[in-house]
């Protein structure tokens, strides 16, 4: 009896150590960024892990003064959200067809769409830059939205198609029997059921668009279309740096990612579980 109690105690302690460790490595860096944003450069350089001597918002003021953060913030939000909606809407329809319908060349088409995962992003820069300048979408939010929606195509397709395949066909057959057409069945029956899979793909797509740097640099030239990752470069150059402002900007940049994940985490978990059971 006593041995059993000791065993339970040890397993509890191990479980807590394990949980605390993961909480620490997940939240630790975020807390460190927020904490550093209140310190002076000197404090960051001399004692990186100490608490700030006083909570000064000078870093946030400097960040807003040095870089057009709010403008870039708005652009990032708009571009990331619209590219995510566009990606999910278009890719989910393609994924549904590829998951449900039988037609000649289906495998080839699936492989073709997925194969873009294998193309290095750097090799896409030049052709996409030329296309965007030729069609007049250089330095526009639309240009970035389209490029981001397309960049996320293979991963979204893979996730959503797998999820659709896990939904029983009988549900759709029942909808057809009740008189629903193809589009109605898709939008009113399949789409809501697949929301976990769609949310997973949406989160990945949003984060890809939110964090993307190279295309934002190459395909834009004005503050009217530029996004937040470019703003972070305003705080370090070859021979000068302002860490306080950089951490303040970073703190502002990471908030949406955390919010989106927190709001949609239930769907993501559901999707992972569904995937694990039904393959």
């Amino acid at each position: 009896m006593k041995n059993k109690r000791i065993g339970t105690l040890v397993s509890d302690i191990l479980r807590w150590i394990y949980l605390i460790f993961f909480v620490f490595i997940s939240i630790g860096p975020l807390l460190w960024i927020v904490m550093s944003s209140f310190k002076t450069n000197k404090e960051i350089l001399s004692s990186a892990f100490a608490l700030p001597s006083n909570f000064s918002f000078a870093g946030y003021e400097a960040a807003l003064k040095l870089a057009p953060i709010f403008k870039f913030y708005n652009n990032s939000l708009l571009i990331s959200m619209v590219s995510t909606i566009l990606n999910i809407l278009v890719v989910s329809m393609a994924a549904y067809i590829l998951a449900r319908c039988r037609f000649r060349g289906k495998t080839f088409l699936t492989l073709l769409l997925s194969s873009s995962l294998l193309i290095p992003t750097s090799s896409l820069l030049m052709p996409i830059y030329i296309i965007m300048t030729k069609i007049g979408l250089y330095d526009t939010k639309t240009g970035l939205i389209i490029v981001y929606a397309a960049l996320g195509l293979p991963s979204s397709l893979f996730i959503i198609k797998s999820y659709f395949q896990s939904i029983p066909v009988e549900l759709e057959e029942a909808a057809y029997l009740d008189g629903a057409g193809f589009a109605k069945t898709y939008f009113l029956i399949v789409f809501p059921i697949a929301k976990s899979g769609l949310a997973t793909a949406a989160i990945l797509q949003f984060l890809t668009s939110w964090n993307e740097f190279m295309f934002a640099l190459i395909l834009t030239k004005s503050t009217l279309a530029r996004t937040l990752p470019l703003a972070l470069n305003y705080f370090t150059s070859q021979f000068s740096f302002n860490y306080t402002a950089m951490f303040a900007a970073l703190a502002m940049v990471i908030i949406p990612s955390i919010l989106i994940y927190t709001l949609l985490q239930e769907q993501v978990t559901d999707s992972m579980v569904a995937g694990s059971i039904k393959g």
Partner: protein, 442 residues
Amino acid sequence: MMKRGFRKVVGVLLIGVMAISMLSGCGAKNKETGNKSNTGNTQVSDGGNESGKIIEINFPTSWVGVSSSTEWFNDRLKAFNEQYSDKYKVVVEEIAGDQAYVDKIKVLYSSKSLPDVISTGGYNLIDSMKDQMVDLTPYVDDQWKKSISEVCWDVNSRDGSIYGIPYSRQVIGYFYNKDLFEKAGIKEPAKTWDEFFAQCDKLLAAGITPVSMDTADSGWLTSLLLGAMIASDDEGEAFMNTSLPKNYNTKEFIDAAGMIQKLFQNYTTQDAIGGKYENGASNFFMEQTAIIANGPWMISDFYDANMVEEGFSDKIGTAMFPGDVMYNSGKIGFNIASKSEEQLKASLDFVKFMTSADSQLKMLEMTGEIPAEINVTSDNIYPLVTEVIENSNKAARNINDFQSLWYANVVDEISIQYPLLAQGQITPEEFATALTKAAEKN
């Protein structure tokens, strides 16, 4: 049945209208801003429109944010706009970050759409892009040529043709912490490299890490030491004044690489491997290292209470590298890639303004960068800047910096090879061979 078909048609039409309105809504900006070039536009620093034709000059710059030249550039841009308000408007593209700047220019070059004016802040893009740059030789008269230090024209010229208009000189030695030197019993900076290493030993014995070094971003701090070590004799000095060398398997280079390996392994901080300039500078600011090689643009930080303890600047001394070696060379200046005569004239006027004696004087006073024009001096500068200039006048050996001289891919290769050299995974000979192989690819 008819009704359902009608709904479908309406649905499709609605989706189409939504898609078109979204595209045109977001994409209309270019028309509104009236951009003529296919490279779009950005913050327009404009003037009036009295003559009816104002020429746009496209100028991407990394002089934004915390860059030490931001204030100077904004001041000069404002002055240019005031002076030429009826003729030109400068379309400034802000590209924060030096590497991001170079990356974007490379893509623009590949698609044959270089902007009118380029200023890389020291990176040598002339060799890889001169076919799209304008040969400026016919536009530089004798008087202009004579007013500027010859070394500045040298670094901006290829085969007798001028591709860059200089505005600044690279005058670089090293800074040392006088307090830490005194603690270690060192009276004055070393005259030879043997003495330098002996001083490093003394500093170590006093519990002080001797040198700030780095490996990332071409290892600027480390490479300055490497170049100075190479230039210890006549052959080495000649090497450090040779443009685009292809053979690094020389005795001077290998000996210098050996000394750098020794410094990495015994006399620098742990964060040097993989570290950037910021790490090295931070260690020097925090008095954790006693020596840092760099140019006078760093001096303003010695007085910045946000970076260093009060009175830090009083502890700093300036020195030539052992053997009285100094970097005393030109810096890559403004390049022009305009495609029409009209654009070229506008770009030339802009570049002339940005590189004028007045602009150089302001640059010296605001950033501490040494002017390219010989006669530009000021009393309104930090005393340490004056010391650096005096050192450069006394130097026995004057050399050029690696970023201006060596192939761009060799400069990139350094960051890959330094960590290996530092950890003893390659020998100095192998380090030299790796750079030679990289150079041979050109």
